[in-house]
Homo-oligomer: 336 residues x 4
Amino acid sequence: MRPTKIPVAVIGASGYTGLELIKMLVQHPIFEIRYVGTSEGGVSLSELHPSLSSVSECAIEKADANAVAESCELAFLALPHKTAMGFVKALIALDVKVVDLSADYRLERDTYEAHYVPHIDPENLAHAVYGLPELNRTKIKEATLVANPGCYPTASILAALPFMPFRQSGTPIMIDAKSGVSGAGKKCSHNTHYVTINENAFAYAPLDHRHGPEIAEKLAVDESTVHFVPHLLPITRGMLSSVYMQVEGDFDPLELLEKVYRDEPFVRIRKTPVDMKSVSGTNFCDIYAKRSGDVLFITSAIDNLLRGASSQAVANANLMSGLEESTGLPIIAYVP
Amino acid sequence: MRPTKIPVAVIGASGYTGLELIKMLVQHPIFEIRYVGTSEGGVSLSELHPSLSSVSECAIEKADANAVAESCELAFLALPHKTAMGFVKALIALDVKVVDLSADYRLERDTYEAHYVPHIDPENLAHAVYGLPELNRTKIKEATLVANPGCYPTASILAALPFMPFRQSGTPIMIDAKSGVSGAGKKCSHNTHYVTINENAFAYAPLDHRHGPEIAEKLAVDESTVHFVPHLLPITRGMLSSVYMQVEGDFDPLELLEKVYRDEPFVRIRKTPVDMKSVSGTNFCDIYAKRSGDVLFITSAIDNLLRGASSQAVANANLMSGLEESTGLPIIAYVP
Amino acid sequence: MRPTKIPVAVIGASGYTGLELIKMLVQHPIFEIRYVGTSEGGVSLSELHPSLSSVSECAIEKADANAVAESCELAFLALPHKTAMGFVKALIALDVKVVDLSADYRLERDTYEAHYVPHIDPENLAHAVYGLPELNRTKIKEATLVANPGCYPTASILAALPFMPFRQSGTPIMIDAKSGVSGAGKKCSHNTHYVTINENAFAYAPLDHRHGPEIAEKLAVDESTVHFVPHLLPITRGMLSSVYMQVEGDFDPLELLEKVYRDEPFVRIRKTPVDMKSVSGTNFCDIYAKRSGDVLFITSAIDNLLRGASSQAVANANLMSGLEESTGLPIIAYVP
Amino acid sequence: MRPTKIPVAVIGASGYTGLELIKMLVQHPIFEIRYVGTSEGGVSLSELHPSLSSVSECAIEKADANAVAESCELAFLALPHKTAMGFVKALIALDVKVVDLSADYRLERDTYEAHYVPHIDPENLAHAVYGLPELNRTKIKEATLVANPGCYPTASILAALPFMPFRQSGTPIMIDAKSGVSGAGKKCSHNTHYVTINENAFAYAPLDHRHGPEIAEKLAVDESTVHFVPHLLPITRGMLSSVYMQVEGDFDPLELLEKVYRDEPFVRIRKTPVDMKSVSGTNFCDIYAKRSGDVLFITSAIDNLLRGASSQAVANANLMSGLEESTGLPIIAYVP
């Protein structure tokens, strides 16, 4: 028997991750969008995202937690951090399950408050589950609130985690990451201007980006161990994370990766260095590693808007709803 | 009194570095191109490089050392490694000064032969000078043969060198470098196809690129200390080198850079992370550094075809000819 | 009752249109790939297209018509013109339906031979149907051989056709078209080199491209009426066709388009000029038009590899197989 | 004897055309920048344009006509239309020669006011010279006020003008133009956002762009004759203009172009279709033309910021100052 549809909401539909959520949900076999909200409301879906004309149409509401709770079992929140907390608190109180794509429930309270703002919802923070399925699949299945990981942490943790047992104690982990511009959001600014980005590349917030502490926390090392430097590239979507670690012990990095991720449907171990485009448009994380003496180089690739945000959110919602993790997830890359 | 012109040759005019040499030499106040050669010959300059129509015109010869020696005091060689050696040997024997843009005279013989091919000209290799002016300016002035550095080594050495005294002994140096596609040359291949490169990025030859040993040798450390990973970006020209070192001692990285490069006309210390485009079209190397605990991050930017090849070659030729290093060098970036 | 699967073949799997076919067919609810062939064979699907790892796997055969006929009801041919004819002839003789993506069956024999090569299969050419559903839907449903239209003709004909009744007799039709580089194919050449294309744009084969006569024939005007100039843009996929016509009579161009295409699921009339990206990844053709006095400007956008090739081929195969035209066709754009 | 320096001002230094002016003027052998102004003032040149660090430094003033007049003989105005008029009026009254890069003095008063705003300086408008040297060289030499042409008009007029005598009377001229994004200016907006532009292309303001009337006026035809459609491409700098005309009479288009432009130093007639990149970074306009029956296709390429703005402004200033037109103009393209 075909399972009943599950009604869901998307709150924060105007940005890129909101659009990606909608693109997947309109084709999802079980989830059905019943509510779409933005901070403003008052437009139609195809006015907000003209590429969806003739594909999907619905009214977009000024986001309201009670209205969501009336019709939906689960809500995806694609809102800025701080704004997200308010909605999460209200939705959880109304018994709506939440996948929150903001940073608000990703970190321990102390770490969060040191890098963001004071937290207004410590009760829910205490039981929120970090939504990296490879790390927390069992907990996610039971969760009512999942904090969807950041894009850089997703790529970096999946790359580094299998090798942590071999890391030389006391040595730093260097992460040189590269992101497409969509990660900077839809807002126009000097750093999203075509002329600034085209034929250019540069580091930003080196050793000082908020995703550094998130990576450290999930790898279970001190913040001071992870040295994280993101770069912006002239690419719309895609992310590459290059991790450098000092290791000891006898292991073949590709064999180890194959073994650790053998049963993972959305991690692919590559025999040659990964590239951004082969994962673009998909939920895959591709990983390659090579060792030279004591130094290990690991390079992973994800689509920053999908595995780094929206498709991982759908994977989490699938698990929270008792569905197969892979239900409705994109696996075919934007190649060529 | 205006100095007399100095006649020079460009051998290997068909590639990108050959074109860049010609672009600078046709506007150089002292050097005058008297001979342009390729492996084939038999075309005109504007047939080979249509953008030079109405700008400069000359016949292109099938490269011949004797013909060069008849008319020129100095030759720029933009040939593949191995081919270069043969010409250098002949030209030096004929008393022509040479700036060689290939790898053939950059390394100690053992290192060269381990990573390239057997060397056929050890006599000249013994006295060739590595043409990084900031490192070897005095020797370059006296040299008859200058080995022009590789693009990755230029960016990486200028970034790392000032900090080598503070490096923690025994720790690795990680270099995560990013290059535009022009570095892969004019030859058509899968990795230079537009569809492969556009909206993509990937590492290649990780921990195994021949520029790793070149960097190590010039930083005076073991090959096994330098862990070098180059990446290809969807950009025509430009290069970024991100260097990660473990350091000790008390120093402010920007102050140190300012002090070391105070009198260098072609190194600019930046207060914020460097970007590729601000040096594109110029001989500048821009550098920024930041420290977090024991870890130092240094990011440098050059134009891979100019500071990483042709304009550095002209700088070397200037020095070898008793001219100001800056004569005829481009300083105004391709911005916007 | 769920319909039985229909076994199909893809011959010519190594290029971009072959890959696009496979991407759609692996997710198609009715068609099932039973045979994949290339001129060489002997590799696996994921070796040929690494982005398909973990998605789909099968052996790739050296293409053979008899082997196709043993297992498949319908074959997609993504082969170069001239090569295609040989296979079509054999497959039709073996009772396999064919959607041919080459130029071999698109034109009247005289026109074909004037612009391509002598035709070796005039028998099948005589009954082949030109596979533009908006033009020939009824005939396609009955066809055994469908000639899939060229990319430029698809975009240009859909733009111009509704206005042909209003065209001033004797006036020329100018078509200024713009294509992404994937249209030039996977082969490496000067015109597909990243450095040639990036930050560049140019016309090629102006007034002399083979798609000009194809457009004229389907618009039912003389070849000398259509003046077609294609341009290459620094974009991987996408196509824009700008059509200029001299018209008479009283009509509102947008209203006319709305009326003509009211029931067409894959034509979207836009209120503002169309853009490439909103159709990228889909089977849509977006059209906008504006009139100024006697001159009409129409601008249409398609994905050159999908509506201009592979998704249109699947639409044709759907119709030939008694399925809904839209079965398994992509409608969600690669935006952002 | 080396000529004395001529002191000049740049007003409107913050945008792209202002930067391009400064890049040329700091290397110009005769002009010397004595005054740089913006609407705000209060920064240094390298703060405004970081790529100029170590290249040129000066204070930037809040623009003031009297201060300009105290030190400068000629001023370049790179201001928005309407703002420009105010300054021009004041500067001319103070006997400062002006090259105005805005639209304010390009058109007959009626045409200007129909497409822009009421004109506040009709006195100077009456004697302003349209600064296209190929059209008005003699007048420019005598002018005190030159209206620098728009980018689209420069490319389109140079393409169309030689063929106007052969145009079939009463037929329309269609111009399909393509521009890089720098033409849209430095301001951040949806249409300059990297994600909007990258992998995209679209027409804007079709048949309704203000450069249409400018082209018509200078070609001496009715506004209703010129049908102008500009497109935005994913390119930083460069412009292509494709002109379609109906012609009569017997002529070879390339021979005609060669003849008309024989003595023009900054027009190059090409034997194959022009490309954007071969003129990028230069003052050249490249032109190619092909005829098919009664229809003529002409394609021209310029750098929109240079020949389409700033280098043409310097050419005009050279002529107004009694210098060779080519003094200090860039001729070497940003290739590769």
